[in-house]
């Protein structure tokens, strides 16, 4: 019973990253141009979400 109460207790406070559209398809484009897109990032947690680094690849 004590174990069950523990498992149903509130989760520890943390940020939670959510990106609804993770893949952006620009369809077709002429090469040599610049493609740009803004990805929306939501924080569904209860602590500030920190984006520490962005790395291609």
């Amino acid at each position: 019973m004590a174990l069950l109460a523990h498992s149903e207790g509130p989760a520890s406070a943390a940020p939670k990253i959510e990106i609804k559209e993770k893949v952006f398809n620009f369809k077709e484009m002429i090469d040599g141009q610049t493609v740009e897109h803004a990805f929306q990032v939501q924080n569904r947690g209860d602590q500030p979400l920190e984006i520490q680094r962005i790395k291609p690849g």
Binding site: E28, D31, G32, V35, E36, A38, N43, L49
Partner: protein, 154 residues
């Protein structure tokens, strides 16, 4: 290149703006980007940009090889085709092998397909490398550079 909101408050929304210069890529492309963050359950998230890159202008071959005897005049050519729904105009911008090679631009299909015909100058040199730079009139691809390699035996 990326711009992004470094801190997003609980319940808030931020953005990550990615910019990719597509020069040098062609065909189907897929660029992945990793997002390192402090969500303990998902510390590395992935976003992707993908699509198809089409050339504004196609030219073939991409390098002109002139090979033969030094005392001969060797010919080579490049076919240039505009792939956009508008007129292609080409004109020379610069040429680095004026003493070694002659060339002329021939319009095969008006405003669309051209051929650049090269002819080596006899005894113009044993080995050389240079280029012909052309202005295209396409803002999407304002210049093309055709490399030319010469290799001649005595």
């Amino acid at each position: 290149m990326a711009q992004f909101d470094r801190v997003i408050p609980p319940g808030g929304v931020g953005s990550i703006i990615l910019k990719v210069n597509t020069s040098g890529y062609s065909g189907k492309v897929r660029w992945q980007t990793r997002i390192f963050n402090n969500d303990p359950a998902n510390p590395v998230e992935m976003i992707v940009m993908e699509g198809i890159l089409k050339p504004a202008i196609v030219f073939w071959p991409t390098v002109v090889f002139l090979k033969g005897s030094q005392n001969e005049s060797i010919a080579g050519s490049v076919r240039i085709e505009g792939k956009l729904n508008k007129r292609l105009e080409i004109e020379p911008l610069s040429f680095s092998l004026a003493k070694q090679v002659n060339y002329k631009i021939v319009e095969l299909e008006p405003g669309k397909v051209y051929e650049v015909q090269f002819m080596s100058v006899p005894n113009g040199g044993k080995r050389y490398r240079g280029f012909l730079k052309l202005k295209t009139g396409y803002e999407e691809k304002p210049e093309i550079v055709i490399p030319i390699w010469g290799d001649f035996a005595n």
